[in-house]
C-alpha cells in the first residue's frame, strides 16, 4: 500500500476597514477565517451587509464555525449531490446565525453577510459562494491564475445576496473538483476585487500573480505584513469599502 500524500498548506490573510466605514463610525465588517485538521484545510471570507451595524458579528461567526464544520465533515460532504449539499449548508449556516442572534439578542437578519469558502485535501476541493467577492485558483500549469467564482450582485451595484437571503439555495453557488492541478486558492471581498478583477473582460489583474510569487520568496510573517500594508495603502485608495483577502498555498508533500 502506498504512502498517503499529505498537503502542506500555508494560509495567510488580511482585512482593512474601508473609508466609508471609518467615516460612518462602523467597524470593519469583513471577516476571514481558516481551519485545518489532518489533511483537510478550509479558508473562508465574509463581508457583512451594509444595512446592519452588527453584520460583522454574523460574518465572524459564519466564517469561523462553517470552516470548522466543513473540515470535520469533508469526507461526508464532498460526494453529496449539489441540491443535498445546498440544503445542508443552508441548515448549518442558519443554525450558526440563529445561535449567534440569540446570544447577542438581535434579529438574525442583522447578521447577514456574503460568504466565500473553499475546503480541500490532497485530492478534492469543495467551494461555496453567495454574493459578491471573488474566488480564484492558481494553476500549476503556466503559473496561471483564473477566477472560478465571480461576484454576484444581482442587477445593481449596491445589491447582492446574503446568507440570510430568502432565495439562499437558488443563489448559492457550489463547485467541486480535483485539486491536483492547483497550487493555491484566493478569496477576496468586493473591496479588493474592485482593483484585482477586470469586470468587462472577466480577468484577474497582474498583481494577483505577483502576490502568489511572494509565497516562493518570503515567509508568512512578511507576506502578512505585505498584505496588511497593501490593503491599507493601495487597495483602500481605490474603494470606499472594507477590503479583505485570504490565500492558501498548496504544496503536495509526503
Amino acid at each position: 500500500m502506498g504512502r498517503v500524500r499529505s498537503v502542506i498548506c500555508r494560509i495567510v490573510g488580511a482585512t482593512a476597514q474601508g473609508r466609508f466605514h471609518v467615516k460612518n463610525g462602523l467597524p470593519c465588517q469583513d471577516k476571514i477565517s481558516h481551519y485545518s485538521k489532518g489533511r483537510v484545510h478550509c479558508i473562508a471570507l465574509a463581508d457583512g451587509a451594509g444595512f446592519s451595524k452588527y453584520s460583522q458579528i454574523g460574518a465572524k461567526s459564519v466564517t469561523r464555525f462553517l470552516s470548522r464544520y466543513i473540515v470535520r465533515n469533508f469526507y461526508k460532504l464532498k460526494d453529496k449531490k449539489e441540491n443535498h449539499l445546498k440544503n445542508i449548508f443552508h441548515r448549518i449556516i442558519m443554525q450558526i446565525l440563529y445561535s449567534q442572534a440569540e446570544e447577542v439578542d438581535i434579529n438574525v437578519k442583522f447578521l447577514a453577510s456574503t460568504l466565500l469558502c473553499i475546503a480541500f485535501d490532497n485530492k478534492d476541493y469543495l467551494m461555496l459562494h453567495i454574493g459578491d467577492g471573488l474566488i480564484g485558483v492558481f494553476l500549476k500549469e503556466d503559473d496561471k491564475i483564473i477566477p472560478i467564482s465571480l461576484p454576484d450582485n444581482d442587477e445593481f451595484a449596491n445589491t447582492t445576496y446574503f446568507t440570510t437571503s430568502e432565495n439562499f439555495t437558488n443563489n448559492l453557488r457550489l463547485d467541486k473538483g480535483d485539486v491536483k492541478k492547483f497550487k493555491g486558492f484566493i478569496l477576496m471581498s468586493d473591496g479588493v476585487s474592485e482593483s484585482l478583477f477586470d469586470k468587462k473582460n472577466k480577468k484577474l489583474a497582474p498583481a494577483v500573480k505577483n502576490i502568489m510569487k511572494w509565497f516562493s520568496r518570503y515567509n508568512l510573517y512578511d507576506i502578512k505584513k505585505a498584505l496588511d500594508y497593501n490593503l491599507n495603502k493601495v487597495f483602500k485608495e481605490k474603494s470606499l469599502d472594507d477590503c479583505s483577502i485570504i490565500i492558501a498555498e498548496i504544496k503536495n508533500g509526503h
Partner: protein
Amino acid sequence: MEIIREELIINTKDLVDNPTPRVPVCLVLDTSYSMSGEPINELNEGVKLFFESIKNDEIAKYSAEISVITFGEVVRILTEFGNIETQEVPQLIASGHTPMGEAVEVALNKLEQRKTQYKEAGVDYYQPWLVLMTDGHPTDDIANAVERTVRLISERKLTIFPIGIGDSVDMNILAKFSPRRTPLRLKGLNFCDFFEWLSKSVQMVSQSLPGDKIKLDIEGIKSWAELEV
C-alpha cells in the same frame, strides 16, 4: 504602519481600473404653456443648480448621469445621458400641451437603452431614477406608461419621484405612476430646494455599498414639499 520592502508594495499599474458605477437619473419635465413665466424660469434655475451640484461633488460627478426630457409642444430629449463635465445645462421653454404618457415612455426607453450600454461596457450601475414634474394633467393616453412604470417599480428596477407643481395639478394622475411613493406637491415654485435635495440624494446613492439601505433625507423634504399633516 510598518515599512515593508519595496518589492512587496503592489504597483498600481498592476491593478485594474474598473469604471465607476453609474446612477442614471432621468428628469421628465412639464414645459407646457401653463408653465410660462415664473414657473419655467424657476425650473430652469433649479435644473442648472442640479447640474452644478452634481459636478461639484467629487464622487457623484463620476457616477451620476443625467438625461433631461421635456413634454410640451412635443416630447424632446434635451440632454442625452453622458459625462456631466461635457454636458451643457439645457434651457427649457414653455409651450404646447402636456403629452406626459409619451414623455414617460421615452424616458423608460432611454433608461433601458442606457442600462444595455452599461452591461455591454462592463459598467456597474445603480437602480435608475425617474423624476416626473408636472403642473397639470396629461393630454395624451398614459395607460401604457403607467403600466410599464408600475411593473418596473414592483420589480424594484426603478425609483420614481412624482412631483406636482401648483394648484391645478392632478395628484391622482401622478399617484398612478407611483404605487410605493406618494407624490408630493412642490411648495410654491421652490425648484431650487427640490433640486438641491435631489442632488444630495443622488450623492448618497453614488456612495452606497452592497447591502446599504438608502435613507432619503425626510427632514430635508419639508424645505420644498407641502406635507399633509
